[in-house]
Symmetry: C2
């Protein structure tokens, strides 16, 4: 595996900018993947990430039951696959095979990493108090991986109905904020 481990203290730098991500789950040896962009950081370290997984999504029951998932972050070259993954359900389709995504074994969870993504976060559910009423999961990131071969990956941000904005120029300002 070409992934390199990333310090947990740096995970927020991946999630805070708001990229469209993929979420993988697995149960009984069968893996699934969905597209997600309703997520946010909750705590720096150990890194906590909140996300919404609708109870209409096939992944919902698996995530609730197994309490494990992987958040995989794709760069813009994967945009067509990201949309294809979001346009169908794991109820009907074996999405890894159909869309040519490569599952890699994770270290701490049964859900797979995605080889094509530049970052992968192994997560367990840390707080499920808002799951039943809000579909809101709080995840703890147990292990984080980046692909050092994908340098300066550009992510995409969803504006609704298939409009995505790609990362543009980077600017640096004198901030006291972490």
């Amino acid at each position: 595996m070409s992934m390199r481990e990333l310090a947990l203290a740096r995970v927020y730098q991946l999630i805070e900018p708001g990229p469209v991500v993929l979420l993988t789950t697995a149960r009984n040896g069968r893996a699934n993947v969905m597209t997600m962009s309703w997520h946010m950081m909750v705590e720096f370290e150990p890194p906590l990430v909140a996300c919404i997984v609708s109870d209409a999504d096939y992944s919902f029951a698996t995530l609730r039951a197994t309490k494990e998932c992987v958040i995989a972050i794709p760069a813009v070259h994967l945009a067509p696959k990201i949309v294809n993954v979001g346009n169908c359900s794991g109820r009907d389709v074996a999405k890894f095979e159909k869309f040519g995504l490569t599952p890699l074994p994770a270290k701490r969870v049964a859900a797979p990493l995605i080889a094509e993504c530049f970052a992968n976060l192994e997560c367990k559910v840390a707080d499920s108090r808002l799951v039943n009423t809000r579909n809101l999961f709080v995840l703890e990131v147990l292990k984080a991986w980046i692909d050092p071969k994908q340098r300066n990956p550009k992510t995409i941000h969803h504006h609704g109905y298939g409009k995505f904005v790609v990362d543009g120029e980077a600017i640096k300002l004198k901030s006291r904020m972490r």
Copy 2:
């Protein structure tokens, strides 16, 4: 006021992409503003937005007590002000005056809109079950405003320590996702 009302069903298109935003609060006639980028959509309509406001932030106690705020979304030309707002606390500084931000009266909440921002969302706290343990507020957006004079505003996304990525090109893909 030059702001035009925006349909509540379209609020998610502003929050889902993950922009750095400003959060205003008010108590006893005194308004404050902070910089925030830990937020996500929770529901389309009525629009619910979750956010993390640290209990170390001066805004925390006001938000918890008044249960009201405004999420104001700045475009990239405001980047230096956004950082200045984040670099100090309302405990010490009257930030609207100091940084030349113009408060406008909201319709449904005491917290002010920010005239310079291209979008303003009037919010009330809808769920505070995770406030004490996670600093996580679920807000309902009661009213949304956009400034029609700011066309195609580019937002900024925080990658940590004052590095921001500006919105780049937009792409359109055939998505069944809302």
